[in-house]
Amino acid sequence: MTKKRVVLTFPKDLVSSPIIYHLVKDYDLVTNILRAQIMPDEEGKVVLELDGDKSNIEKGLKFLKKQSIHTELLGQDIKIYDDKCINCGACTSVCLSEALSLNKKTFELEFDRSKCILCGLCLNTCPVKAIEITF
């Protein structure tokens, strides 16, 4: 079993097709939509986490390409600057996926990258601008 995070760009004419349904049904993949922006008659973007058998993930990605959906591995990442962070914890209560938390003993900030869904809510919440999203 393996996990991959990809950014899918849907052409206009495909935004109403049930693409993710096929990933689940035909390739036995667990899909988790981290972010999606799909408007009728506009190009759509979905940030998707795929969880499943390695070969199935590859087959699924091939299927997406065949549908002329542009796919690329997610390169975005959250970066926390330790020298700026004051360990207040303001970011933790807006972090709905609980990737950011304060250590219960030291009360210092901890970041669990695997839980982060890159929603970006923490960026503006940080009073000292210690969190950035990188591309």
Binding site: A90, T92, S93, V94, S101, F107, T125, P127
Partner: protein, 385 residues
């Protein structure tokens, strides 16, 4: 066992004083009891590191040639107040840049000064016989100016609110981002580490008290603005349930460190300054020993609904700091995630640093020259016609 200030300072001088941080004393009381603390401990170091809007610096630049009376003044495009003598100005933490808006303000200029950076000074003036010059554009830095006195009208609040938002949309406040339908709850106090929580009736913290102030030595100058000792108190611990006493603090910005002072910008609200304050509490008697041993589970804060844009916000209950620090609380049968705006970790570091200062005989305990008032209230502004 009773002790005097002189006895405690003598022990410090001889390197024999028993100094514990607020966290350590809570732990000692839990395992050995308050009596043991009263018998053995001389000083407890308390601290807080949080956003304190009512902060700023008095700067004196010296005179240019020909001289100017600085009337309208900008530092890195942030307006400063020049309505005092010719080259004295006051720069407040929440004043905003006329160019960068909410992102850069007086707080950032203060932090940049400590970092040793050059700051653009611009001023215009009427021009008088003694101060003929009408305009100046130059740069200054912390070394080039005469004084940089930090004087903060209101710091180290004795307790603070827990903020939630019951409306249907996100609001951006000085208590941080508050998510709709009580999506989160923000609080802002160091709880069991906090100076005025550990000396609830201001027995040892008063005018003249020597403190740790953003990495250097500072003093309590006066009661802080909005000082409100009459707030409702827990009958057992005497700790107020909501914001109460405050301190006006003074110190030398030239000796401060960015480890303990940090500019901040709250999204949709503006700028403020994180201030690190440490206060030693001498354990003079058993009553003080009892007060310094109170732990987060016996310190309560009141939950307020910040979506109501009124002077008196509705109260939604009371929670202990132990509950707040656990990461979630219950409000009206709903589990709500909590976060602090003040930093417990930083406050704890300040407690340790101040303890080191005392242990290494760099810092002695100053008895207050005058007590803080215990009998006044915080009046609202009545609008007259």
């Amino acid at each position: 066992m009773n002790r005097t200030y002189a006895e405690i300072n003598e022990k410090i001088k001889k390197g024999k004083a028993v100094v514990l941080t607020a966290e350590e004393v809570v732990e000692l009381a839990r395992t050995k009891g308050v009596k043991k603390v009263a018998e053995e401990v001389d000083v407890v170091t308390t601290a807080t590191f949080g956003p304190m809007c009512s902060s700023g610096v008095i700067l004196n630049f010296g005179h240019s040639d020909p001289p100017i009376k600085l009337q309208k003044v900008w530092l890195n495009n942030v307006p400063a107040y020049g309505g005092v003598a010719a080259v004295d100005v006051y720069l407040g933490a929440t004043e905003l840049s006329e160019i960068s808006g909410l992102k850069y303000g007086g707080a950032h200029v203060i932090e940049d000064l400590i970092r040793g950076e050059d700051i653009k000074l611009k001023s215009i003036s009427e021009g008088t016989d003694c101060y003929p010059r009408k305009e100046i554009n130059t740069s200054i830095n912390l070394k080039s100016i005469n004084q940089a006195i930090m004087i903060n009208p209101r710091n180290a609040y004795q307790n603070y609110a827990v903020a939630v938002n019951t409306s249907d949309s996100t609001i951006y406040t000085y208590m941080g981002t508050l998510l709709p339908r009580m999506g989160n709850a923000n609080y802002c106090n160091a709880g069991q580490l906090s100076p005025l929580i550990k000396d609830p009736l201001y027995r040892t913290i008063g005018i003249g008290t020597r403190i740790f102030f953003c990495g250097t030595v500072g003093y309590v100058a006066w009661e802080g603005t909005q000082h409100n000792p009459s707030a409702e108190r827990d009958p057992r611990t005497k700790i107020p349930y909501s914001p109460a006493g405050t301190l006006c603090l003074i110190g030398d910005l030239k000796k401060m460190s960015t480890n303990y002072l940090r500019a901040a910008s709250f999204y949709g609200y503006g700028t403020t300054l994180y201030i690190g304050v440490g206060v030693p509490i001498p354990v003079l008697d058993e009553q003080i020993a009892e007060a310094v041993c109170v732990s987060d589970k016996d310190i309560y804060a009141t939950i307020f609904d910040y979506s109501v844009q009124k002077r008196s916000r509705p109260k939604l209950g009371r929670v202990s700091y132990e509950q707040l620090r656990s990461g979630e609380i219950e409000i009206k049968n709903k589990t709500v995630k909590t976060a602090s705006l003040s930093s417990y970790a930083k406050a704890n570091n300040i407690c340790k640093e101040l303890k080191n200062w005392i242990k290494s005989r760099k810092f002695y305990i100053q008895e207050p020259i005058q007590q803080l008032p215990l009998d006044q209230t915080f009046k609202p502004l009545a609008e007259t016609r």
